[in-house]
Symmetry: C2
Subunit: 601 residues, 2 copies
């Protein structure tokens, strides 16, 4: 069978050795985290591109449980790699610019030392004698490999799923060696549900009559049924319900004619059976056990505090992305990591990408325009040479119109922010305001935004933008965490006004709010004289039935509210934006926009 | 081991025969839907309560894949039943009022004929020779059992999961014999994902070396590992991710000390291993295969049209409930059934109950206050004697205050509706308005509501209430499906005004909309003179920062909108509700509420 009859995110790799794999032997035995050691560790790896003279363009790509070192083709004739869509010349991880290294994991079966390797103590395969290893051990092996390659610093570590676990571990263990981390569809620990599926998969292997407590290498049969069952379970968890329905609903009762010894009554069964059977050809059951236990043991802490503590040493800049339909590594788990980084004041961008592809999304082209572009521009800004490039390039990926839109309140707000203050911008859009502040030497700038495309725009400007819903996502910020919190022309579109303002004055030592004023004389007149819902230019240009504005209030209403809530108004700047002037007399009547500097005593 | 160390929704039933099981032999061989027949079919069943003289109080409870006839205890000394929380004297399915019958399924292993039964043709257990059966065959056996018991009509058929499949089949096959259907956590067919998990479970059994192509009954070993693996997979899918986290997060690395031959590294593993091992003691692998294939083959149609066609014969009244965290039978699948019933103009109530309990929710006490009460009151109104009972009893389960609230617009709207018209009330609340209409002989009344408690109130009044979000849930209604669609004092709280109004005039031949008028002179004056956001009594009594009203418009605005949208205004009733009078002069100035009769030509 030369061609797969199924599309799959999983590259159906032949079992034959890969052509471009290089091997490195570690000089010293490897002491293991949970005790014991491994002598004579070999690492299989592949590299792409060239290490530059400054040695500052190395990118480590970490693979997931069933991957290997062959992340991409080395040339058009080469066998396909598991992430060809993202790694290559001109691609997201541009091998013309970056020196990409992808090692096979410790414990694996694709060249790096694992349970199928010969145990130097016995001259036979380790089998059951292969020790329990951790993600930390895997990273240790990678660190030593990089030493051998003369790479002391990494521009970035990139990985999804178990690859993300490695990336997190890198940032924690080698804070000085990692400039940036891209962690996709990952977590600080598995959910109990994900762990449960792993347990069942392992039980299928362990109870396979051909397993022989792991010493099957010299026997005629291998625990193929158990491994195939484990793979089938895994495969279901990698796909979303939507994706499976799309794939198998139409012809549910028309199984593909594949030569497998599994149930073929349903089309999805023939698919899973095929995936299971192919997996067995290229993967070792003991490696599967070893790697899945390592993944299940990975645990940066079950509480927000423990996780923040675990991440405290990290000094990297972070890009974290989850996928809405990923139920194996659900988005909340990525948010937990983001929240811990926020607690540590670490620079982080985060987006929960709208996707129907499930956990596999990070391996598939469907959402590459989002996670790929975020990764590309994130790497752009990590690279030391980033500032030297012309600014236009930075903005080329997003719409440009917004950058030229005149926002009078931005200028005033910027003037109200003390020099050098840290700033949190709630509803930051594409980051226009924050990008302006960056020029005036503010040390920490963070944006909150809900819209995916705007987050991408912000990240492509080199900003830290975190996806969150203002109505419920601010609890993660500590009291007084920012010098200044900004909410510009957004309050009128907020559902939970009280909640957002209360959170704002908790988080910011000073807060700046700009609001459209429905007390403006032209708006009053419109309702009073024409009997029509008032509208105007700017944020009030919408019709009553399609406006994003859902709160209608005046300067006086807002000031009343602050008084009731014990929020102090330090300063008010009232503007008539039509005339382009500041208003000093009867602002509630004469201003269409007001800016308040507020705080809670 | 006499006590289970784990809480579980699954009653860990001993393998010994149940005390109160009765057996019935079918008189004729059973011709099977997919071909072949079964001679000498025995049905094991249990009954509770008494069949009344009118023979109209029989309730059939259908069990799910691993259940049996023992739905509840027969007395306090009896072994616990799988639905003790719902079935018994004074309970949701009140055995003081109803005659409850629960048969074990055809193909099962708890008394009814199944693969472990003796094949009269060979004198040995059927094993692999047991034919493929369908849910239809199961229902046929139940129909024949009821004939033997002298039960020709059922007040209701009730079932969850596979039990729901049987309930649906009953309503389709025996439309004259079923007054009501309660279908919980069920579907018209499995998702591809659910089917995939079943396939893997079956493969685990089929490839167990002790399976011996199903002829294991006279051998020392049974395919226990395969069946246990299938059960473990199933168990994960019955629980929600939240529920598993809650159960196993705290002590992830502290497995319970249970005597099992499965991996015990993690607490969740010891739990699953225990569940798997216990299941094997009481369940037969061949029955598991038989029942899971029957479930996987159950298919009322993959398109909305096919499903509506499949349900066309049904004449029952329906109560359908799903659970938000059920990912095995996800809520969308219940909605598909509801939508098909709506297309057929069948009387149906539906609620997607907020729950963290996953698919198992319908077996657990956590959400009984909702699904149980809905079932109880639904049965109340099904019973022929329902009308004889005093009305207070009917309303005792919900809050009573709302029934006395004066709503001037209700009276006017009721007068505008032609006698006997079918009415769809968008945002029906607890059903006050519809309950009023019922008294005036309207033939079809349906309410749409989002709030769970209000839906329960509506159902407890005997109304058909369907849970949906007005902003996106109206597409299921056909054009012109109702004589009249009502939207009373709700438009100001709707996000997608255009969408809702467009849908409304599509569905209703006539539509009635009542709106608060922001053009009312007191409101204009408030903004103009005091510079404060206008507020008033009734639906406008909220503060600007916490009002549910997000659309601010006047009578004139609304009429403009109708003109633009080619919506014809047939009549307008303007009211000054403070004075309690109809307004004829300058309504946009003098009325605080207006009612419009509209339609699209």
């Amino acid at each position: 069978m030369t061609q797969t009859p199924f599309e799959s995110s999983d590259t159906v790799r032949s079992a034959k050795p890969l052509r471009y794999v290089q091997l490195a032997k570690l000089d010293q035995p490897l002491a293991l985290e949970l005790g014991g050691q491994l002598a004579d560790v070999t690492v299989a790896y592949e590299t792409y591109g060239e290490l530059n003279a400054a040695h500052d363009n190395a990118v480590l790509v970490c693979h997931a449980i069933s991957g290997d070192s062959h992340v991409a083709q080395h040339n058009p004739e080469d066998e396909s790699g598991w992430w060809d869509i993202a790694v290559g010349p001109g691609k997201v991880i541009d091998t013309n610019r970056y020196f990409v290294i992808c090692p096979n994991l410790l414990g694996g079966c694709r060249g790096t030392t694992g349970p199928g390797s010969v145990n130097p103590a016995t001259g036979k395969p380790y089998g059951r004698d292969f020790p329990i290893i951790t993600v930390g051990d895997m990273v240790e092996v990678q660190r030593r490999l990089l030493d051998k390659l003369g790479v002391s610093q990494l521009l970035a570590v990139i990985g999804g799923s178990l690859g993300g676990h490695q990336a997190l571990t890198w940032a924690i263990r080698y804070p000085d060696d990692v400039r940036g981390v891209v962690a996709l569809a990952t977590s600080a620990r598995l959910t109990s549900q994900a762990l449960a599926f792993d347990v069942v998969g392992r039980n299928a292997i362990l109870r396979d009559p051909h397993f022989h407590v792991g010493q099957y290498y010299d026997r005629p049969d291998r625990p193929a049924v158990g491994l195939a069952l484990a793979r089938m379970i895994g495969h279901i968890t990698y796909l979303s319900r939507e994706a499976m329905n799309e794939k198998f609903e139409a012809d549910r009762l028309k199984p593909r004619d594949v030569a497998i010894e599994f149930e073929k009554r349903f089309s999805v069964g023939s698919y899973l059976g095929y995936q299971g059977a192919k997996f067995v050809e290229r993967f070792d059951a003991n490696s599967y056990l070893t790697l899945s236990v390592a993944m299940d043991l990975f645990d940066l802490g079950s509480t927000p505090e423990a996780l923040a503590t675990a991440l405290r040493s990290a000094r990297a800049r972070w890009l974290i992305a989850s996928f809405t339909s990923d139920w194996l590594f659900p988005p909340d788990q990525s948010r937990d990591i983001v929240n811990a980084l926020i607690a540590n004041n670490a620079p982080v961008s985060y987006c929960n990408i709208q996707s129907s592809c499930g956990h596999d999304a990070f391996l598939l082209p469907n959402d590459l325009a989002v996670y790929g572009e975020m990764t590309r521009t994130f790497l752009d800004h990590l690279a030391p040479a980033a500032k030297a490039r012309p600014a236009v390039k930075d903005e080329a990926h997003g719409p440009t119109s917004i950058f030229h839109q005149h926002r009078l309140d931005y200028e005033h707000i910027a003037e109200l922010i003390p020099p050098g203050a840290s700033v949190l911008d709630l509803g930051c859009g594409s980051g226009t305001f924050l990008a302006g502040l960056r020029e005036t030497n503010h040390r920490r700038l963070v944006g909150i935004e809900l819209d995916e495309q705007k987050i991408l725009n912000g990240v492509s400007r080199g900003l830290d933008v975190i996806q969150a819903d203002l109505n419920k996502g601010l609890g993660v910020f500590a009291s007084g965490q920012f010098d200044c919190v900004v909410l510009s022309q957004t309050l009128q579109a907020v559902q939970d006004v009280e909640g957002v303002l209360t959170e704002m004055v908790r988080i910011g030592r000073t807060c700046i709010v700009s609001i459209p004023n429905f007390g403006y004389h032209r708006l009053r007149k419109m309702l009073a004289e024409t009997g029509r819902a008032p509208k105007s230019a700017g944020v009030l240009h919408y019709e009553w039935y399609n406006t994003p504005n859902i709160r209608f209030f005046t300067i006086a209403d807002f000031e009343d509210f602050c008084r009731q809530q014990n929020i102090q108004v330090h300063r008010r700047v009232a503007l008539d934006t039509e005339a382009g002037v500041e208003v000093f007399e009867h602002p509630n009547l004469n201003a269409d926009l007001a800016i308040f500097v507020i705080s809670r005593p």
